[in-house]
Amino acid sequence: MSTLAHIFEAEGLATIALGSIKSQIETAAPPRGLWCDFPLGRPLGVPSDSEFQHRVLGKALELLDSPEPIFAEYDVSIIDDGTEVMACPMPPRHDPDLHPAIDEANGIRPAYERAIAKYGNRVGAGRTVEADDITTAIDAFIRVADGIPWKEAGVPGIPARVSQDIRGYYETAALALSDHAPSAWAGTRWFLDHTEAGKVVMAARQAMADAGEMQPIWFYMAPGDR
């Protein structure tokens, strides 16, 4: 963002760059930079809170009053301590003959559709794998976790992108399964640590790492601190 700010400003546009990582925005030093100590993915801070978002925007727009380059820090922080997990009541096992992750993905499909109807498909399936094929993708990762090379396991695309679709499918469904708006990362922690599909994705990722696959192929299947 800060690089674009420099470029745009040189072309005659006045810019204000928001940044979530202090060291980056300080080093890149855009002409007008506002560091907001908010979780990654939420540069305006709080979803569905227009007053909060307006306060952030108001501070950002104030920087236009400066006659010279300026860096400012927003005075409210939103800290994720890594503990909150979405509370999602999951459907009971339906078909004991299916792998638990496949049964689970089938079971949350109605919730996924409700969330899509309410919010639209903003982060759900469809980049590489459509919702109808999510169980096929999970099935392929089950085979990878069992030791089959990913190129032979039927993974329907680049593993990182396929994983992203599965995560998006689950996190979108979670919006309809839960009765509260999740704090940042609470949906991701729920998916990775508390769902059968998340366990499959992480097991497949580990199997690929253990098999010596190129790091970029498996690393981006989950957040990098995992």
Partner: protein, 148 residues
Amino acid sequence: MADSDVKAMTANIDVVEFEETAFTTPVPLREAKVAIVTSASLHHPEDEDFSPMDTGYRVLKSQPRDYVMGHWSPNFDATGFALDINTVFPIDRLDELAAQGTIGSVADEHLAYAGNQFDLSAIRLDSGPAGAKFLKEQDVDVVLLTPV
């Protein structure tokens, strides 16, 4: 896994440092046309998705607001945007500021780039200036840049 852990991973990522800081004095805010440029890889469903090393941009129309997150990085929370596009792309908030007269107007078209780039040369030399030209042709005065 905490947000700070993910942020800490970025500590060693090289950041482009500019020797000189360009600076454009804006028109008065109440007269300014404002656009949003985000690095969240947003696009309309019918538009081309971003590829892993995509240095181009996509045009985001003000309507319909059917934006899709096409980012390749797993290293951010996506549920905020799933709940409310304004968490990343505060287009409704800008509309409200324009209605109040705080800003002059909101651009009809905005831009999205892919933020997960390690080599920024193509953006510096090509798609960045091209995006600026696109916005200038719309008489945009002020750009709000938002990351994910």
